[in-house]
Symmetry: C3
Subunit: 356 residues, 3 copies
Amino acid sequence: MRSHRYKLDELAQLVQGELIGQSDLVLNGLASLEQAQPNHIAFVNGDKYLNEALNSKAGALIVTAELKDQLTTHHNFIVVANPYLAFAILTHVFETKVLKRGIESTAQISPSAIIADDAYIGHYVVIGDDCVVGANTIIQSNTRIDDGVEIGKDCFIDSQVTITGQTKIADRVRIHSNTAIGGEGFGFAPYQGKWSRIAQLGSVRIGNDVRIGSNCSIDRGALDDTILHDGVIIDNLVQIAHNVQIGENTAIAAKCGIAGSTTIGKNCILAGAVGVVGHINITDNVTITGMSMVTKNISEAGSYSSGTGQFETNHWKRTVVRLRQLADVPLTKLVKQIDHMQAQLESIESTLKSRK
Amino acid sequence: MRSHRYKLDELAQLVQGELIGQSDLVLNGLASLEQAQPNHIAFVNGDKYLNEALNSKAGALIVTAELKDQLTTHHNFIVVANPYLAFAILTHVFETKVLKRGIESTAQISPSAIIADDAYIGHYVVIGDDCVVGANTIIQSNTRIDDGVEIGKDCFIDSQVTITGQTKIADRVRIHSNTAIGGEGFGFAPYQGKWSRIAQLGSVRIGNDVRIGSNCSIDRGALDDTILHDGVIIDNLVQIAHNVQIGENTAIAAKCGIAGSTTIGKNCILAGAVGVVGHINITDNVTITGMSMVTKNISEAGSYSSGTGQFETNHWKRTVVRLRQLADVPLTKLVKQIDHMQAQLESIESTLKSRK
Amino acid sequence: MRSHRYKLDELAQLVQGELIGQSDLVLNGLASLEQAQPNHIAFVNGDKYLNEALNSKAGALIVTAELKDQLTTHHNFIVVANPYLAFAILTHVFETKVLKRGIESTAQISPSAIIADDAYIGHYVVIGDDCVVGANTIIQSNTRIDDGVEIGKDCFIDSQVTITGQTKIADRVRIHSNTAIGGEGFGFAPYQGKWSRIAQLGSVRIGNDVRIGSNCSIDRGALDDTILHDGVIIDNLVQIAHNVQIGENTAIAAKCGIAGSTTIGKNCILAGAVGVVGHINITDNVTITGMSMVTKNISEAGSYSSGTGQFETNHWKRTVVRLRQLADVPLTKLVKQIDHMQAQLESIESTLKSRK
């Protein structure tokens, strides 16, 4: 393993922070406050971590100016406006990167494929006819790139990935292991009591800086393409059906499923396990909370939800009994009726009083 | 890539439609109305696409007789009763098919496996002892077929698939990439505070014309087999647990999960992300809408649902507050009480009136 | 295929049961009551299977003493206190085990990796620098073990698995096909309207006797590790996000998702498709029923639920109409108001009576 050793002033410079303390302190890791050792740097993400920071063994801390003054147990700091962002930057410094370049002898590459000289193609990778792999792109072992797939530069494709359906991938795209891209969309025409398969002729287009997790399925379009625009980030086990379009910088958490031909706008956030039906539109800047079911267009930015959090099971069972009665309870009419009855009662009482 | 060029009269014949216009018009693609160019044919799926069709650049349109008369901007048509079905048929004509046959030199095939001469076995495929692969079946690269698995003819198995557990697969079955078939069912006996593994001895049987998407898990049975009957179609990321049986022509959309030993009938439709508990029966011709939870037998054909669509999040939060109160609100009793009180009120009012 | 032939007295001894009947009866399979033939042994899991047992063709039955007396159609028994546990034990006897040992010629093993002599490494497996594979561990074909991963003894890793992120795996761990372990956690810092990737520097630690199904994603931690403690069992298509910790002997059914930094205690059971939000704690001995959403800490052992089972769709639609009104219906206040009105009514009626 390659060693990562930096002096505190080097790290301060990388995050454009102010160095306080011993500039030549050598640090060889980034760690959590709890796990950090004297050779590690850690970051303090706000007031609520103050106690943890005071007790941390970290050799140096990334903090705001306000926090620094309270951390009397420490002497070495990098002071920045946004410690979380500085941490995000330093993760890249301490990351173990894939340094290999070239094509492993066991990779099977079609003679018509064009592979950049400084790409890396791992063992047992299979690359089909007319494929393109751009500069500095890494394809890990056992992955399969089918005919006509094009991949840009500076991409990272992990192992056991299948890319087919003539998918076109732009630059700086990351695809994690065991993901299937460009597979056949789920298109069938009912015919004489059976399902008649519709071969899928569209493709998948993936923009710059897109990130796709492991075990995802992103299907090719039926006729037009499935499209992930620049900056889309997708977690693990996500289903993107044929002809879905996802706008720039939208984030989709694990286990979401987007049904066919749905369009999602820019800068949206779908929390975990959200389901979205097919053939609808969701506008820009929409947040959907976890496990929600989206069944209709969303045309106004905002936050949307469905489902409920946990109930103690006996409470929940009694609630469900009531829910099953609810359809036959005309709630708003009852509320009006009760108000009306209340008025009647008061009128009767006043009549009775007057007749005393 | 193989070129697909057809004259309009050839295409009309393939879908048994009536040709209107230029019979020797050459078309080399099937496209959506919006994306079609003059060398493409498109289809018009009903009245609601009339405007799109009028503005389409498609060289020819597949339409019904009624629609044709309104499409004054176009001159080349194939007239059929069901344009969607004609489109489904033509997708097969324009599809890029795998034409390779034979066994790639890097495939590892057990000497006791029987591979049909005109099958295709891709690079780095591993096929175990006593396996059978039928005529015209295609197995893409890096897939693994474990000992004792049998696959019929005209099947398509994409890359990174694992088939184990002595699974038996009939003819014309399609299995998409990264799917796991025949894996060990989740069977454990609780014993002295720990989980004691139950080795799974059953298998998986897959009928003719079954289609399974990518990233699915279909487990082998504990003792008897897990069974997918003829014509079952399954989308991506679907879990089929041990000893599940699914009836003919049932369709299961993405992200569904069927727990162990459940039986689902024929011609059912499970929309996306439906969950079905174990050890229940669902009869034929049942539709379950998206994200529903099925916790009990369904013995009558029909449509079933649970969950709700999205609420604006603040509305939803107030709704959940009420839901948590609901268990203690005797709804139907209250409705009766209110009715009774209303009657009492009216009786009192009439008494008061009579005593005036 | 290796033959499994045992005499009835051998099987009785293996499960420490009492043999009744023909001690030298040869049995070559374990089967369900329904499918069993005279050369099979079956088990009777309680009274409710009595009729099935009476009609079974099984050559021998595993039963309790009470059940035995009622099974007048049978003569060969193994009598035990817990037939289900005896069955669990015998599945291991009849299981077809992987007997191969050694390294297939096509496996790519880094010179710095240490592989135990009696491990099995399948075709096209790729093992990176500084890896360790322990004694009697089986790694099936096409799996990839990335640099720095360590695997203990007696483990079983099926095909198409990817293990990366310097994951450390203890002994007797089973990982099924197409699972991704140690992939990058979904960590991004929002920055200037885009998502800035946080490289993940933590790892995954997996205890003894852990079982992970197929198509699972278990991500490496951001700084600290993601941890599965001893005896955890996980079904298929499960998402375990970065920095999750799962306590001993907790069982997680298929399609669950646990969001980042959540801690789950010991001996918990999560039924199918449960979702748990990030950064919460669930204590020991908690059961979560199927498809529940857990949004808050659970600090008391017990059973928790959300969602509802299926409604007939028209009933459900009317229910949802009411649910959407519910936010504006002050339920507990109304119940009090109705009680109060009832009291008022009674007081009025008594007044009227007294004035007659």
